[in-house]
Amino acid sequence: MTHRYIKIGVTALVLVGAFAGMLWSTLREGTEYYKNIDEVMVNQQEWHDKQLQLHGYVVPNSILVKQSTLEYKFKVQNNPARASQPGTIVDVTYKGIVPDTFKDEAEVVLKGKLTPTGFHTDPNGVMAKCPSKYEAAEKALAGT
């Protein structure tokens, strides 16, 4: 009987070990920090070259597209566009197609890296949501 328990124990140990090791290694490269702009900009240097998910709001009238390209330049701010204080503002660059809901005042989450010249967004790294109805109606989905 004890023999059997030892076998089970060793198997379990090996499995748990392998699992933990794999989890640790994948988590190390797979994780991204989810931050608001204010949190990051307090101490910029610390965040340079770390994979970030930056949460903010598009500054009204800041979206620029280079003629005949997919290169975007825009600004995001920490607080919602209608708030009394915009909070910290960051310059953002992005190359690619933006979602339908990306526009002035939109709440966005940007995946990418912070550099001294601004935030560089990864390809397909712009996620935006529409302030009013999209959210409400998405709840139906969520209702799941």
Binding site: G30, S68, L70, G96, D100, A128, K133, A137, L141, T144
Partner: protein
């Protein structure tokens, strides 16, 4: 109206509490009268919820803008269909819809089982009523959908977002809800069994069918969500590991596990604790998923706004569920002891156990990944997130092992497999697997993960084919009929088993589609007019941008030509639509060229009208359509497994062998006919008379008339259905042409081609090649699955009736045959 609705909800809550209380009291005092009263009250809850739903629908249909909820999700110009679907469009309404479904399902479950499982029923009623009470409480105190404006009600609503005005999006939530809510029924029976201590297998029999039913709808719901994401969101994929999606997937994993482990308990009386636990976990995950996506606990693109009150209420409810349910399980542990032990790891029950662990692991892993941001914030204070690649990396091997077990399980015998029968069983499936692996290698597919996936697909198909072949061979020998009849009889005899195999075929197809993902191509290009871009074997040329308007929306369409090997094979028309009143929220209309081998998928990212240049996202998605087909096959398999036990057994046993064959052959022919593009059926009707009237005779003709625009120039480009001015002879001619083409049995695309050739370029197209039709064609497998299951069911019921009336004693024959075949099937195992 609002007041009536609120009053109804309040009344429902009261009746609900009565039903819960009186059932428990009745059960404890063994009072038949009290229990009956509880059941009555339980039915009354459904009646009240139906009434409340009617009030809600009425408010939407009549545009009662004193109710806030109506204002938020509807407006007066919204099409009727979306007015109805707005009922579950928002948070408050979706909770109400939840209770509505639960009350109806609960009533049906209680009605069906009230005699057979008499001892369980009062507690089933009480459990479901308590769950209903929770949601009703949420509505009454916190999220009342009938809240009205105290003063100054607006005169017009805000309307549903255009993105959600999509057919799939409208039916996706109810399908998922049905799945979610359906899981409450097994939970209620499980709890009732635990409380009463009637822990034999009878409660499992009562819930097996319900679980399968709920599982089917959950699968369909997930499928609809995927296809919506693929066709509407325009990023070229179908699954993004978003918390909202994951919430639907979690209970799917555990329900799948339950459907498998139930068989082990039935056959071997093992895993009894495990099964009860799975039912509880599944139910818990449905509630947890709802909580996760609505309370703001998990941040995502779809963040649903923080709602701390809702979060607290849900947390309380979930703690109550876990404590109560698992408390009961622990209390009943002595009764739940397994009657058998695992004899060998080379047995079918071991394969089932492994499958369960893996499914549960998958569920827990997805849960972990989804909750990771919240967890990391709680532990380290930093919000860290994990993204798609992380999930993919982990769940690819998990999925492959699961796929392998799909093939291995049926080959192993119950209790213990000897090496001799292992060799016998595994030979051909392994050959099939190796063959497909070789083919994959020759084509140049990398071994990890897609090559392995193809090999396993071959292996599983080999297993299932062998099961069908051997079973049918034995049956043919014993019944002395032909192979086809034997095959049908086989499926009819053991619907759950062979229906299950068909579901597995669907799973294989889905994995086959997933494997194609490895070769996905994705490019973003900017094309000036006349310029070309290359993706895969295709060359895409931009021929310009056109702006059209159909009165409801302005459509900007890129006209692309697709070339392969220097020959034009097709056109693609991705567009952006700006709806009236939603000009700031243009929707992306994806253009997809669907083929079994691969989809060519184009999204219009931006355009410049001045120089006609466009920015495009081009995606080549190999094998993606097999995923949709796989879901269709899965639906068919589940449908067969769900067919009523007795009817079909009777039917096949009593039927002259040839009749079954003929019927199935007929059904198959019908299916094939139905599966052909709908256009092929159109041309049949219509005499000279109707043809010359030029009013649409069929939905197809109507659709075509709406798609094609009159080119006379006098009517301002009305479409053919509308332009009926006397002086416009052109439209008359065009309609006549259309009618003639339809009568020739031409398909949609052929007609468009013919019109382009005759009436000059693409001028006559209202909207370039509407995708609605295309979509229907791809919706078909799913439809076919359902229809055929229903058709077979009806046929079975009809036969039974005929058979049952005359002598009234078919049972002995039936049971004799029953036993013989069961024996043979067992030997086969």
């Amino acid at each position: 109206m609002g007041a009536l609705g609120s009053a109804l909800l309040l009344a429902t809550f009261v009746v609900c509490s009565y039903a819960a209380a009186i059932s428990v009291v009745g059960a404890r005092r063994h009072s038949r009268r009290l229990i009956e009263s509880g059941i009555g009250a339980f039915y009354l809850v459904s009646a009240l919820m139906i009434a409340a739903s009617a009030v809600m629908l009425n408010a939407f249909l009549t545009g009662d803008f004193t109710i806030k909820y109506v204002v938020h999700y509807s407006d007066s110009v919204q099409p009727l269909f979306y007015k109805i679907t707005s009922y579950w469009g928002g948070l408050d309404g979706s909770i109400m819809f939840w209770v509505f479904l639960l009350s109806v399902f609960g009533s049906i479950a209680v009605y069906v089982n009230r005699e057979r499982h008499r001892e369980l029923i009062p507690y089933v009623v009480a459990t479901i009523a308590v769950v209903q009470m929770f949601f009703l409480y949420l509505m009454v105190v916190h999220k009342n959908p009938f809240t009205t404006y105290l003063a100054n009600a607006p005169g017009e609503g805000q309307g549903l977002n255009p993105l959600l005005q999509n057919f799939y999006m409208a039916i996706h939530p109810p399908s998922l809800y049905t799945g979610f809510v359906g899981m409450t029924i097994p939970f209620a029976f499980g709890i009732a069994a635990l409380i009463t201590g009637h822990l034999d297998d009878s409660w499992l029999r009562a819930v097996r069918r319900w679980t399968m039913f709920a599982w089917l709808f959950l699968s369909i719901g997930l499928f609809l969500g995927m296809i919506w994401a693929y066709e509407e969101l325009g990023w070229g994929g179908y699954w993004a590991w978003d918390p909202v999606e994951n919430a639907g997937l979690l209970p799917w994993f555990t329900a799948t596990a339950f459907l498998h482990s139930v068989m082990v308990q039935e056959r071997r009386s093992m895993l009894r604790v495990w099964n009860v636990t799975l039912v509880i976990i599944t139910f818990f995950l449905t509630i947890f998923g709802t909580f996760m996506t609505r309370s703001g606990v998990v941040q995502s693109v779809h963040a649903f706004g923080d709602d701390p009150i809702l979060a607290k209420l849900f947390t309380g409810f979930m703690i109550a569920i876990v404590t109560f349910s698992f408390g009961l399980v622990i209390y009943r542990l002595p009764l739940l002891k397994s009657r058998n032990e695992l004899d060998s790891w080379l047995s079918r029950e071991a394969a089932f156990l492994l499958n369960n662990w893996i499914l549960l692991f998958a569920a827990m892993f997805v849960l972990f990944g989804t909750m990771f941001p919240t967890l990391s914030e709680a532990v380290t204070g930093e919000r860290l997130t994990v993204a798609g690649p992380f999930f993919n990396k982990w769940l690819t091997p998990v999925g492959l092992v699961m796929l392998m077990l799909t093939g291995v399980g049926p080959l192993l015998a119950w209790r213990r497999s000897t090496f001799k029968n292992l060799a016998d069983q595994f030979l051909w499936p392994v050959v099939a697997g190796l063959t497909s692996a070789t083919i994959a290698m020759l084509v140049g597919i990398p071994l990890w993960a897609s090559g392995l996936c193809f090999a396993l697909c071959g292996f599983v198909v080999g297993t299932i084919g062998q099961e069908f072949w051997r079973g049918a061979k034995i049956r043919r020998k014993n019944t002395g009929t032909d192979m086809l009849t034997a095959l049908i009889g086989l499926v009819g005899r053991n619907k759950r088993r062979y229906g299950g195999y068909i579901v597995h075929v669907g799973i294989v197809l889905i994995f086959f589609g997933f494997a194609g993902n490895a070769r996905k191509l994705d490019e973003q290009v900017h094309l000036t007019v006349g310029q070309e871009a290359r993706i895969g074997k295709y060359i895409i040329r931009n021929t310009g941008v056109k702006v059209t308007d159909d009165g409801q929306k302005q459509m900007t369409t890129a006209w692309l030509e697709v070339f392969v090997d220097g020959k034009q094979i097709d056109g693609l028309y991705p567009a952006r639509w700006a709806y009236r009143h939603h000009e700031q929220e243009p929707t992306t209309e994806v253009a997809i060229r669907r083929r079994p081998a691969e989809d060519l998928y184009a999204t219009l990212g931006g355009f410049d009208l001045a120089d006609q240049s466009v920015t495009l996202q081009l995606v080549v998605n190999p094998l993606v359509n097999w995923i949709w087909v796989g879901f269709g096959v899965m639906a068919l398999g589940t449908g067969i497994a769900l067919l009523p036990e007795r009817t079909f057994a009777f039917a096949v046993a009593r039927l002259p062998a040839e009749a079954a064959t003929t019927t199935v052959a007929l059904l198959l022919m019908l299916l094939v006919a139905g599966a052909r593009p709908a256009s092929a059926q159109q041309g049949m009707g219509g005499t000279e008379d109707t043809r010359s009237s030029f009013y649409a005779r069929t939905p197809f003709e109507k659709q075509m008339q709406h798609e094609i625009v009159c080119t006379c120039g006098a009517c301002g480009h009305q479409n053919l259905a509308e332009c009926r001015k006397d002086n416009c002879s052109r439209s008359h001619e065009m309609r006549a042409d259309l009618a003639a083409l339809i009568d020739q049995g031409k398909s949609h695309d052929e007609i468009i081609q013919a019109f382009m050739a005759k009436w000059g370029g693409e001028e006559m197209l209202g909207a370039p090649l509407d995708r609605g039709f295309n979509r229907m064609a791809w919706f078909l497998p799913y439809l076919v699955g359902l229809t055929s299951a229903i058709a077979v069911g009806f046929a079975a019921v009809k036969w039974t009736r005929k058979a049952a009336t005359p002598d009234g004693a078919p049972a002995p024959i039936d049971s004799a045959l029953d036993e013989r075949i069961d024996d043979e099937l067992r030997d086969l195992d």
